[in-house]
């Protein structure tokens, strides 16, 4: 959560923000690794079928690991969105809703960002076109 606030609120030019977000993501990845190391052999199920996945997540340890997985990768995607926005000089107001959606519904936020990025590029093309 703190990682997300930093991503959303600090100036887009700050390099330190990216470093901090990556450290938070790395920390989550370490936690995930530990959880998988401990619980992977204790659950039953697999990724071969929906029933298999449901059975995996019956185990609280693996359920927690799954949640940490979301948190880590959503944060990484958010970091990438910010990076792209800074690189292309996009507005913070275009980025913010995408970050929010990525935080809540990972893939939807990513798709939204791709859409916003596409739109932002098109306005730039329109601006440079001779009248």
């Amino acid at each position: 959560m703190a990682g997300w606030l930093v991503l959303a609120l600090t100036p887009l030019r700050w390099r330190l923000t990216r470093t901090m977000a990556l450290y938070v993501a790395a920390g989550l990845a370490v936690v995930y690794t530990a959880l998988i190391a401990v619980y992977w052999t204790q659950g039953s199920g697999d990724f071969g079928s929906l029933a298999g996945v449901a059975s995996l997540f019956q185990h609280p340890g693996l359920l927690l690991a799954g949640w940490v997985h979301y948190l880590a990768f959503d944060l990484l995607v958010g970091t990438w969105e910010r990076e792209e926005a800074a690189r292309l000089g996009m507005s913070r107001w275009a980025l913010l809703p995408c970050l929010f959606l990525t935080f809540l519904f990972g893939p939807i936020g990513w798709l939204a960002f791709l859409g916003v990025r596409h739109f932002s590029m098109s306005t730039r093309v329109a601006a440079t076109r001779p009248a």
Binding site: V30, V31, T33, A34, L35, A37, V38, T41
Partner: protein, 282 residues
């Protein structure tokens, strides 16, 4: 030309902060592996905190963590001594063997230890089903690790074109021979004995802090530990002697090496007779 410029003739002090930078300069692959193995302890230490499963009455994660630290030291030492070899020796078949085979073998070795911990089963001495195959393969791997040390020692003895204090070179060669010989004999004995406790309780609970050696009887791991870590301790002692510019450093290194080898053999004999290492310690 290189004789004047080379920093290892009289070793300079290295602060712990600069240690990895210095290692990177000496052998980047081994330095990277040493660093990665150390970082890999982080998730495993966390696993140690949350996992309630045990092998020999202690957490299943204690052993992988100990091996990661020990191997990290091993790679750091191997990389450190690469600076004692000329470029042409490192580029040869033996030189490339010293760098690449131990890295590949060590990664496989750790994969096995971590897989065993994940399954909550013993790694060494585990002769249940497919684990037997892994245990046998690990024996070959461990032998490769020690052959790496020996080959490097032989290379350092043969290639003398890098300027180096004679006592330091001697310590690198002698420690390689001692580490190889003692580890082969003691680890080989453990494999045939099919365990490491002699007399005493067959449990790791209540062992010596950090090292985990038995406090109730003999433990063959004591001699194994001191034997293979001769690679670090003897050269460190020699380095201190050379830094202090003491006279007769070479003779002192010989004496130290002989005394050290005797000490390692003593700890082995001690374990064989079922006696505790450091019996005076409570």
């Amino acid at each position: 030309m290189t004789t004047l410029a080379h920093p290892t003739l009289v070793p300079h002090a290295v602060s712990p902060v600069n240690l990895f930078a210095e290692l990177d300069r000496r052998q980047p692959h081994l330095a990277a592996t040493a660093r990665l193995f150390l970082v890999a302890t982080l998730p495993l230490l966390l696993a140690l905190l949350i996992d309630i499963r045990t092998v020999n009455d202690i957490s299943v994660w204690v052993k992988p963590v100990k091996f990661l630290v020990s191997l990290s030291l091993y790679y750091a030492t191997l990389g450190w001594f690469c600076a004692y070899l000329p470029e042409k020796a490192l580029r040869g078949v033996a030189g490339r063997f010293v760098i690449h085979v131990p890295i590949a073998v060590g990664v496989l070795e750790m994969a096995w230890l971590i897989a065993a911990a994940m399954h909550g089963v013993p790694s060494h001495f585990n002769t249940y089903g497919p684990w037997t195959v892994a245990y046998r393969a690990a024996g070959i791997g461990a032998t490769m690790l020690m052959i790496g040390v020996l080959v490097q020692g032989i290379l350092i003895a043969r290639h003398r074109d890098v300027a180096l204090a004679p006592a330091l070179r001697l310590s690198a060669v002698l420690s390689a021979v001692i580490a190889f010989a003692t580890t082969m004999v003691f680890a080989g004995y453990m494999a045939r004995y099919n365990g490491h406790w002699i007399g005493g309780l067959a449990s790791d609970a209540g062992g010596l802090p950090l090292l985990g050696w038995s406090r109730t009887g003999g433990d063959l791991r004591v001699a194994h530990f001191w034997g293979l870590h001769a690679s670090q301790l003897l050269p460190l002692a020699a380095w201190t002697l050379v830094r202090a510019r003491l006279p007769l450093a070479t003779a002192a290194v010989w004496a130290l090496a002989i005394a050290y080898a005797a000490f390692v053999v003593f700890t082995f004999a001690q374990a064989l007779s079922g006696e505790v290492f450091l019996p005076g310690l409570h």
